[in-house]
């Protein structure tokens, strides 16, 4: 019986190393593209060149050109920065709200916990994409609106999960032990409860980036986010959707970039979870 955890903690390591290599490579590529893409990109991708529009993939343009004659591959690479930065900003913003709500709920008086959780319930029961769509539309269609809208609507799940984990941690015997030894409330939260609860937040932060990228591009696609000349991937697809049947590559490339980003961060989240989960960790 004492054996079961020992076995579980050892087996995943092998799998992770293969999966890990792939995921690290993808993340490295994405980060590299976000950091250096805009610097390295030829200036031509910002200008339209109608003469060379909608060219199929060739040696000069590996993924073809769009309706304005701009290189699709370079535009996708350049778009990485917009997309990743926006997603990170969104997830960080609503994670902070979530942590604040969860911490207040978990450490505050019962009625406050109850009230905050009811509000969170409401947030959970509303379809976040629709609400974000409403907000973004009301703020006026732009990338900033989409970012603000998603930041406002994304926190409830984080808050709920973190609060539940913190409650669980507070039930742990070692927290009672810290009480008995006489630690202050502040030390109890910062040294005992939070460090043992934040793993879930790190995991969620990471894997949420993938999902956020998708919603962000969806909002752009529907017209309330980034607007077409932008290199944001959703906006690129929205701009290219009229040419699907004549120039499929204009839609294909940004979509694949989206899929890769969302898969990579989703898997990274899984990996961090497997790595940080104490029950999966080795006992020696």
């Amino acid at each position: 019986m004492s054996l079961a955890p020992a076995i579980r903690m050892r087996t995943p390591r092998v799998k992770i190393s293969f999966q890990g290599a792939c995921v690290s490579l993808l993340i490295a590529l994405l980060v590299f593209a976000a950091l250096f893409g805009p610097m390295l990109a030829p200036e031509a991708i910002y200008r339209s060149d109608i003469l060379s529009s909608l060219q199929p993939p060739s040696a000069a343009h590996w993924l073809g050109t769009d309706d304005q004659g701009r290189d699709v591959l370079w535009r996708v690479i350049v778009g990485t920065r917009t997309t990743l930065l926006s997603a990170i900003a969104i997830v960080t913003a609503y994670s902070l709200i979530g942590v604040a709500v969860a911490t207040i709920a978990a450490s505050g008086p019962r009625w406050l916990d109850e009230a905050l959780m009811r509000v969170t319930d409401v947030g959970l029961s509303l379809p976040s994409m629709i609400v974000a769509l409403g907000f973004a539309a009301a703020l006026g269609p732009s990338l900033q609106s989409a970012i603000i809208a998603q930041s406002i609507t994304g926190w409830p799940i984080t808050a709920r999960i973190l609060r539940n984990v913190m409650h669980q941690t507070m039930e742990a015997p070692f927290v009672a032990g810290a009480h008995v030894i006489g630690v202050s409330r502040w030390r109890l939260m910062t040294r005992h409860v939070l460090p043992n609860s934040l793993d879930v937040l790190i995991v969620k932060w990471t894997s949420d980036i993938g999902g956020t990228v998708l919603i962000l591009s969806s909002l752009s696609f529907i017209g309330v986010g980034a607007q077409p000349p932008s290199t944001e991937w959703g906006a690129m697809i929205a701009g290219a959707r009229g040419y699907v049947s004549t120039a499929w590559w204009t839609v294909l490339a940004p979509g694949i970039a989206l899929a890769i980003t969302s898969v990579a961060f989703g898997l990274l989240g899984d990996m961090i979870q497997a790595w940080r989960d104490p029950s999966l960790r080795e006992s020696r």
């Binding site: 004492s2 054996l3 020992a6 076995i7 050892r10 020696r284």
Partner: protein, 337 residues
Amino acid sequence: MMMQPNPAGRPAPVPGEAPLLSVDNLCVSIRVDDRSVNIVDGVSFSIRRGERVALVGESGSGKSVTARALMRLERRMKATGSIVCDGRDILKLSDGEMRRVRGGTIGMVFQDPMSFLDPLRTIGDQIAETLRIRGVSRRDAERKALHILDELKVERAAERLTAYPHEFSGGMRQRVVLAMALIGDPRLLIADEPTTALDVRVQDQVLALLDEISRSRGLSVLFITHDLGIVAGFADRVMVMYAGSVVEDGDVYSTFAAPRHPYTRGLLDAVPRIDRDSDRLASIRGTPPHVFARPQGCPFHPRCDRAFERCVIERPVLRELGGMRVACHRPEPEAAR
């Protein structure tokens, strides 16, 4: 039945009779990373018909894995050696034949009755399932379930059949688990720490029940436990496991009176007793080794006061010694106490 209980309550051995279960050089291994680790490391023993054998050990000793290997329930582990039960080698059976053995020839009772019951099915359903699997009609299976609950002294058994596990107390649940194991009329009952999760008084009742049933049915029992008190009260024979192998095997009276393996001796001295005062417990130093970090040579040598060079190098095999079997290079003297 053929055997007569002797005054001490255990069946006299019948010469020449084939044992119900004989296990020979059983190894159970698991793959970890790229190597295979033996959790059970060459265990051999046999159980006669009607005999009640206790398998004692601490955590990581491999006692539960041994028990489950007898039923081929450890799916991610590989078992080698031979397990002959009622004339058939368990390890060579097809999956279909094995299923007939499970719940048929061999019944099994587990430690924590709550976690071993399906929370979504009624008690009656779960007891009858053993028979339903074997094509018995629902009505007959339920009648048999009722009958067996009566045998296990469950009051108002008929109403209980339609209840769910969460509506039962711990002792009642353990009876249900027992009923699940007994309804297929097994020859061998494997009980894996069946009373560890229970309070002492309930434990006492369940043990008495198990005692009575195994006697009246002539059932062989393999009782896995860490509690030497239960061994003394219930078993005819005791096998002590340490780090994957049996280190001592003998009848309870001789073993408890004069254990020959230093580990058994240490265990007996380390247990506080309800029936007498003591100033200080003798303790074994160190801790039982983790499955993945078992010492070379005799696995007990780092904790043993009697160890000498040979123990470090050579792993002792289980050998016959004055009517018992002991795996030790330097066993305790015969009349140690």
